[in-house]
């Protein structure tokens, strides 16, 4: 108890003396960085779990690409379960009685009484903004629209909407509706109608990707399990069961990946904080040797001496972690605001688990990196009180490395959850640090050859060179932070601009899908007359891959979820006599223009062939509405998707798909801005869907922007980590600097000259770090351009300007803050204290 009280008093005194500032800030930073991401991820996950059945609108949902057989509903009824059928499809929606009304691609849901079985639809009174839960569903002839659709069509309560061939009256505005789409990126506007109105719309044509659903809810889970077993036994290809338990694995997986990525980004800051903690602890060791020796001389046991220091560190560690935690709570709010709408609309409050994780990070860092020096400190020979020339005790290198490596491995492993990802991450950061350090060392060696003019420059340069290893480490750490920031600010903007510029100026910006065969000739004429374009209409048949080389396709053997999803989904099949523009055969031979029928084979897109493990010569069987088509793969193609032309994964020769129901798709370039032609088209052909590429691009871009901003935010912690390493390194050399300054001043140097020398040192340090950061960002930018975007990379000199100037200024400020004390103190006192 006495030791504890004494330790607290010593801690208070060290606090006053500012001895542990760097250490405290490092722990705060690590906790804040990890906590921010952990809290945010936890809220998203909690949101998913809690809202899962509300989002589904049921306990279980059977869905299919075609009308579901009656057995599903009748079995549910037999088991006493509540059911509600629904159909979901896309349609162009516009106001019916307004000329040139804006037509919007909308997600339409036709529901029956009882919908939703779980949760509720929230309606909003547009006048007062008041929200209430809906009772019932839209009546026959009624439409409920969500706020986005209201905004974009200009419709309000009482407006008439054209939904296919039917005209419905808007009776309510929806604020929120239970729907999984709420969890996906960029959900489209929504319309809720009565299932009885669907036939009148005439919208359920073969090309329209409608989903027929049966919502099921049970009072007892046993009945639900029995029903699940029944469905599993009867399920056919193209049908799915979704329940709270297996809700959208891809959504969950995407979020987990995002969490892992952000977590690892946050960990870079933790690694830098670890370096700062190690530096700060070794400085603490040096500065407290005399005190420790005194304790021992006064009769303190080794354990008591160790306890005195450990208690202090724990107290500071916990206090710093607590402050870091508060910062994390604020940080995650900012992160949530940055990602608002892109992931989930409303998030529950965070739980305590991330707080525990973040605190554990802080404590692990403290002990992993500060304990070895403290053990060394407690073992200081008491003889030091008489003989100050005794060699300093050093932390056992083995203990220090073992502790440090174990801590880092633990933290990285915990964040990455996979040994491989953790290894790559560690190797990456270590590699970057070492590379930056080596480069920094080389640059410093080069600087040696540059004749320095003036005392300040010479002294500053000498300082950098004398502490070459420490300087390289500081430059490396800072360069890492700057690389991350430059990459996300300047380079990202450049890449997106270059990519957009790389799109051909005549690239189509509109797609028309779901065009019926008998509408093609008329639609072509109409487009030529109204817009002066003559797009090619390409046939499209929806078919499911059911057999591979004569054996039924076993989806479960695909480990990759993307492959599994692709294999389960319906393919868009098409036919052509010539290889489409922008396609290149990479394996096999494309059929001649005179080839006809299934015997000519299938040409498969290279990527999907690889994903599904299909090679030239394999025989594929597709099922389209009960009709089977079987053909060998005769070629694989590389497709230039960036051209925005209409392309297909699987192509047949003409005649092969004649027995199957086809719709047509066309892509063309429409005048930008003026969309009045669209309402004309929708009025003429209510079944045709128009997809605006510019709009999709804008949506994708806005998501990219938001995600990038969130990552930038997390990378700010990295930069702070770099600055902290700098501060720690400055602090660890402070006594040395003070002593040098005192000697130089007794030799006649002015304060201004000393400040000049420090400024020179830090400007150089920052500029070197900035230069390396710019090199790193440019290199990664090049790799992204070359490998990911497939565009020629144009370097941006501004990256270097921002990097070098920004780095120099940031380090100058940080360095000035760290060294202003050293110049202030009277030389005699310094020499007496440190001499």
């Amino acid at each position: 108890m006495q030791t504890f009280r004494l330790a607290l008093r010593l801690a208070a005194r060290d606090w006053r003396a500012g001895e542990l500032r760097v250490l405290i800030v490092a722990i705060m930073l690590a906790v804040a960085s990890v906590g921010t991401v952990a809290f945010f991820a936890d809220r998203v996950k909690q949101g998913l779990a809690r809202q899962a059945n509300l989002l589904l609108g049921a306990d279980l949902m059977v869905s299919g690409d075609h009308p579901l057989p009656d057995v599903y509903a009748s079995e549910a009824k037999a088991l006493g379960l509540a059911t509600s059928p629904a159909i979901r499809f896309n349609s162009m929606i516009a106001q019916a009685d307004v000329k040139d009304a804006n037509a919007v691609l909308t997600d339409v849901k036709a529901v029956t009484q009882g919908y939703p079985l779980r949760g509720s639809v929230t309606l909003v009174d547009p006048a007062s903004g008041e929200k209430r839960a809906a009772r019932g569903i839209p009546g026959v002839g009624e439409a409920w629209i969500d706020t986005r659709l209201a905004d974009r069509t200009g419709a309000h309560v009482g407006s008439k909407l054209a939904v296919g061939d039917a005209t419905l009256t808007v009776s309510e505005i929806i604020a929120q509706e239970p729907e999984i789409a709420g969890l996906t990126f960029a959900p489209g506007p929504k319309l809720l109608i009565n299932l009885h109105d669907v036939p009148a719309t005439h919208l359920l044509t073969p090309g329209n990707r409608a989903t027929w659903r049966l919502l099921v809810a049970a009072d007892k889970s046993g009945e639900l399990d029995r029903y699940r077993t029944f469905v599993a036994a009867h399920i056919e290809p193209g049908q799915r069961v979704e329940s709270v338990r297996d809700l959208r694995p891809e959504v969950r997986q995407t979020l987990e990946r995002a969490e892992r990525f952000l977590g690892l980004s946050a960990l870079v800051a933790v690694l830098l904080a670890a370096v700062a903690v190690a530096l700060a602890a070794s400085r603490y060791l040096r500065r407290h040797l005399d005190a420790a020796a005194m304790f021992r001389c006064f009769g303190a046991r080794v354990s008591q001496t160790l306890a005195l220091f450990v208690i202090q560190f724990v107290v500071f560690g916990i206090a710093a972690s607590a402050v870091g935690l508060v910062a994390a709570l604020i940080g995650q709010e900012l992160l949530a605001a940055l990602l608002a709408g892109a992931v989930v609309t409303t998030l529950p409050s965070p739980s305590y688990m991330p707080a525990v994780a973040a605190l554990a990070t802080g404590i692990a860092l403290l002990f992993g990196f500060a304990l070895p020096p403290l053990v060394a400190l407690a073992n200081v020979p008491p003889l030091r009180v008489l003989r100050r020339d005794l060699p300093r005790p050093r932390a056992s290198a083995l203990l220090a490395y073992a502790c440090g490596v174990a801590t880092i491995a633990l933290l990285v492993g915990w964040q990455a959850r996979e040994a491989q990802a953790a290894g790559i991450m560690l190797a990456g950061v270590a590699g970057l640090l070492v590379a930056a350090g080596v480069l920094a060392w080389l640059l410093l060696a080069l600087l040696r050859r540059v004749p320095a003019r003036g005392v300040s420059w010479r002294f500053g340069l000498a300082n950098l060179r004398r502490r070459a290893l420490a300087s390289s480490l500081q430059i490396g750490a800072l360069a890492l932070g700057l690389t991350a920031l430059l990459l996300l600010t300047v380079v990202r903007g450049d890449l997106l601009r270059d990519w957009r510029a790389s799109l051909p100026p005549d690239a189509p910006n509109q797609f028309l899908v779901n065009v019926l065969p008998d509408q093609v000739v008329d639609a072509r004429g109409w487009l030529a007359q109204r817009l002066g374009v003559d797009p090619q209409f390409k046939p499209m048949v929806r078919g499911r891959l059911v057999e591979l080389n004569g054996a039924p396709l076993d989806v479960s053997h695909y480990e990759d979820t993307r492959a599994r999803r692709l294999a389960q989904r319906e393919f868009n099949l098409s036919w052509t006599d010539t290889l489409p523009i922008g396609n290149r055969v990479v394996d096999g031979h494309f059929w001649s223009s005179s080839a006809r029928g299934a015997d000519a084979g299938i040409s498969l897109e290279e990527g999907i062939a690889k994903t599904l493990g299909v090679k030239v010569g394999d025989r594929l069987t597709f099922d389209a509405g009960g009709i089977r088509i079987s053909a060998p793969v005769t070629s694989t193609r590389k497709v230039d998707w960036d051209s925005f032309r209409v392309n297909f994964f699987a192509l047949f020769a003409p005649g092969a798909l004649d027995r199957l129901p086809a719709t047509y798709i066309a892509a063309f370039r429409a005048p930008q801005g003026d969309v009045r032609w669209l309402s004309g088209l929708v009025q003429r052909y209510p079944n045709i869907l128009s997809i605006d590429v510019a709009e999709i691009l804008a949506q994708v871009q806005s998501i990219v922007e938001r995600v990038a901003r969130a990552v930038e935010f997390v990378f700010l912690f990295t930069l702070a980590g770099g600055l902290l390493v700098l501060q720690a390194a400055i602090a660890s050399t402070q006594d040395e600097r003070k002593f040098d300054a005192a000697i130089v001043r007794t030799l006649g140097a002015s304060r201004a000259q000393l400040r000049g020398a420090h400024a020179a040192e830090f400007l150089l340090l920052g500029a070197l770090a900035g230069f390396l950061g710019a090199v790193g960002a440019t290199a990664i930018g090049w790799a992204l351009a070359d490998r990911v975007f497939n565009i020629p990379f144009t370097g941006n000199a501004l990256v270097f300007v921002y990097g070098i100037v920004g780095g120099a200024l940031a380090v100058l400020c940080a360095g000035w803050l760290g060294t202003r004390e050293t110049v202030r103190e009277p030389p005699l006192r310094v020499l007496r204290e440190l001499g």
Binding site: Q2, R5, L6, R9, R13, D14, R16, A17, E19, D290, A291, M294, F295, R296, C297, F298, G299, A300, R301, V302, S303, Q304, P381, P382, L383, V385, L386, R387, R388, R829, E833
Partner: protein, 241 residues
Amino acid sequence: MPSPIIRAQRLSKTVQSGDAPLTILDDVTFDVGDGETLAIVGASGSGKTTLLGLLAGLDDPTSGDVMLDNVALTTLDQDGRAALRQRLLVFVFQSFQLLPALTALENVMLPLELAGVPDATPRAREWLARVGLAKRTHHHPRQLSGGEQQRVAIARAFASDPKILMADEPTGNLDNATGVEIAQLMFRLNREHGTTLLLVTHDVTIASRCERRISLAAGRLVADERCEPPASCKLSASRCA
């Protein structure tokens, strides 16, 4: 002679210097009686400080042993020696060895707190008053003059009511007048409390105030002289020489 509280028995200390062993202390034997005042004198490098370190159990002898209050130091581990020091002895150093982060009061309290003494604060306050620093209790070492810092160190030494006080060149960092003042204070307190005093010094004036003086040369004990009565030892070297 009073019963010995310190017994140095055939103490030797050899260190490796380059290839050759270097003997710093060579077969030194002497006793110190309870309450005795003893000066250890000798030229620089004669082994004075090494001897003091061995007597306090801060360092291990190459051979020989030290008995402190009838306990052989070689039978104790580091922590055992620390506990013994806590019970018996305190130090005053040439460089004061005050902790810069602590105030004068906190510095005096430190050994009391380490020993778990309950009334550390009033005791430290009282001792600061006794060395004439009642108004400087909340000053940090850097705000005090050299003489004041050594007074704090002396208050710190006496506050834990030690049986033995070991002082290593206590006036070495002070000017003459202050040195005399500090020496007077130390001897006065020593007299009042009957503490055994071991003093390593160059200063013959201070050495002459001790009852006994042993001289070291090249690690060997070359003289062991008595100077009686100590009270009559004025501040001049001649009387005891």
